[in-house]
Symmetry: C2
Subunit: 252 residues, 2 copies
Amino acid sequence: MKPLILITNDDGITSKGISFLVDVMKNLGEVVVVAPDSPQSGMGHAITIHDPLKYHESDLFVKDGVKAYQCSGTPADCVKLAKNHLLGRMPDLVVSGVNHGSNSSVSVLYSGTMSAALEAAIEGLPAIGYSVCDYGYDAEFNHTRDFVEEIAKKVLEKGMPKGTALNVNFPKVSDEPIKGLKYCRQADGKWQEEFDERTDPSGRKYLWLTGKYVLFDKGEDTDEWALNNNYGSIVPVKIDLTNHEYLQDLLK
Amino acid sequence: MKPLILITNDDGITSKGISFLVDVMKNLGEVVVVAPDSPQSGMGHAITIHDPLKYHESDLFVKDGVKAYQCSGTPADCVKLAKNHLLGRMPDLVVSGVNHGSNSSVSVLYSGTMSAALEAAIEGLPAIGYSVCDYGYDAEFNHTRDFVEEIAKKVLEKGMPKGTALNVNFPKVSDEPIKGLKYCRQADGKWQEEFDERTDPSGRKYLWLTGKYVLFDKGEDTDEWALNNNYGSIVPVKIDLTNHEYLQDLLK
C-alpha cells in the first residue's frame, strides 16, 4: 500500500505553496489535502471551539488525481478533521506548507504552518512544516523542490521520535542555488514590534502591528545562520514545552 | 517604585478570572490590565496581522484603582500592545488568567492564556499563566488565592531564566483544601477528539469539535498527577521548541 500523505497549510487551499507541495508529494504516495478555505497566517496553535466547523470537497487538485477538502477552521483544526473524520486510516506523514514566509527562530510559536505539524506530532504522526523566506503571494518555490522531496522521503523511511516535528525553512530564491541542508537549533531572537497608528473615516484610532526581526544569537548552529548563508534549515521541534533544566533547579 | 504588573487573559476583560487576578495582584504592585474585549479561548499563540487592532480604556477596574484597556486582539496581541504602546515602562511581571479551565499537559499548546505568558517570555519578562480546572463562567477561584499570591511574590523576588514562563494550574474547588504546590513536567497526553455532526436549518452539515483528554503518562512528577492529587501544578515552560536530544542524534 502506498504511504498516505496528508497535506495542509495556513495560507489557504488556493495558495501557490500548497499546489507546489501537492506536486512534489504526489510522487511519494497517496495524497489527501485538507486545508483552510481562507488565509490563517499568524494563527499559532488556534483551534475552533466556540464556532462549528464546515468543510466541503474541493476540485482544485482533481487534475493531480488528489482528493481535497477545504475547511472553515485553522490549520490545527484541519489536521484533527482529517484524522478523525475524513481519512479512512492514519496518515503515514503530515506535511504543512509550503508557507509563504519564514517560520524560523521564534516565529515557530506564531506559525499556523507549524501548528499543523505539531498537532500531528501530538498524535504521534511524523510531520514536517515547510516554509520559504518569501512573503509574496507569487513566491517562488521551485528552487526548494529537490530538498522538499528528499526530506519527506527520509522521514517516510526513518520516522521520527514521538512528539516531534521538523521545522524546515528555505532561503528566498536568488542567483545562487541553495547550498544544502543543515540540522539546526531554533535561533534566539524576537520580533521588535511597532504599532502604526491610523484614524478611520469615523475618526476612531486603529493600529497595524508591524515589526522587524531582531537576532540576538551569534551561534553558527542556528536556523537563522543557515538561512543567512543560503542553506535550508531543519529544526526538530517538540510538543513538550517543559524547561527541564530549570525544573531540576526548582526541585533542588 | 512599586513593581509594575501587567494582567491579561484569554477569557476576555469581563470574565470572573481576571477580576480575581486584579484583586490579588493589586496588593503586590501597580497593576495595569490589557485584555481582549471578547473570549479568545483556544487561540493558541495567534496574533493579528491581517486586520488592524482597536483598543479603548475601560472603567471596569476603576473601583480597584487599576487602569485597564480592552483590545480587539488576541492575548499575545495584548502583551505586544501593552509593552510597545500603552505602558510607559517595561512591566516587572506579566500574569495571565486566571483561566476558566485547565491548561495542563498538552493543552498548553492551544492555550491563549499561556500564549500571553510565552509572549512575555520572548521579551525576557518574567511571566505566569494561571488556570483553574473549572470551565464554568462562574468558576470558583478563592481556594487558589494564597497560592496565586505566593507564586507571584516569589517570581517578583527571584525572577526567572530568560525565555521561560510558569504554567500554573489548580484543581477545581472541592471539600478538601488544595494540599500545596508541586513543580512538575508537562504530562504526556492528548485530546481524543470527536466531531459531532449536525445539520443547519438550510440542510448544510456542520461539525462541533468535542473530545476528552487521554493521559498516557504514568509518572508522578507530572502536572496531571499533581492536579489529580489535589495539588497546584507549576510547569516551567520555554519558548525554545528545539528537541535538542534528537538534534544531537541527527548531527551524528
